[in-house]
Symmetry: C2
Subunit: 126 residues, 2 copies
């Protein structure tokens, strides 16, 4: 454990420093029933192909609902609010994204932005 490659170390430090100022886009998505398996692949492909290379993109997380299997929560980490609301939404990549995932939506996703107030890893590893 003492000899991580430099890239991993940089990534580790990046996470714990950048978290403090980034913007979190939270998209609450409902898809059509019975399409979960297809959508699992489509949403990952959509983020990787259409969003990952966007200006200000820092990373993402996709959560899949247990009580509500048609529900997905997509979190995208951006450097600034405008990187999402202006740079990305006005780009051709946004149209690409919607073309990949839009056909599965049961309704328009609810999208809002957040700052990170606090976070903490597992206490046993401190």
């Amino acid at each position: 454990l003492r000899r991580l490659p430099a890239s991993s170390a940089a990534l580790f430090l990046f996470f714990f420093e950048s978290d403090r100022t980034m913007i979190l886009e939270l998209a609450d998505i409902r898809i059509q029933p019975g399409k979960q398996q297809e959508f699992d692949a489509a949403i990952v492909r959509g983020v990787e192909q259409a969003i990952r290379s966007a200006k200000g993109f820092l990373g993402y997380r996709i959560q899949h609902g247990i009580e509500t299997p048609e529900r997905y929560v997509l979190t995208i980490y951006w450097e600034t609010l405008e990187n999402h609301t202006v740079d990305f939404r006005e780009s051709a990549a946004f149209q690409d994204w919607r073309a990949i995932v839009g056909p599965y939506f049961a309704a328009a996703p609810t999208v809002e932005h957040f700052t990170l107030l606090a976070d903490a890893p597992a206490p046993s590893l401190k």
Copy 2:
């Protein structure tokens, strides 16, 4: 960067391995208007005092709404679903938690659980 302390390396590896099986509790919270500053402190104190030592607790994240300043999204990472729904909710610590944060709520929070479908850090650091 090549010589991280062992504890950081362990933490780094833990994050990227444990993410794959953990349960994410997502609590969507609306508080009374004008109470944000007080609640910022109360929710952190509530998690640290009443939830952090719970069985199966792995970590947390608290997001604060930009478009909706009365909105907070609390994510808690658990080892299993039952660690939250049974072990924690039936414990005295749950009452402690509600005593700390409950007075600020504008309505009962919406709580659901998720699995992690995918996540990825910033592409420039790969």
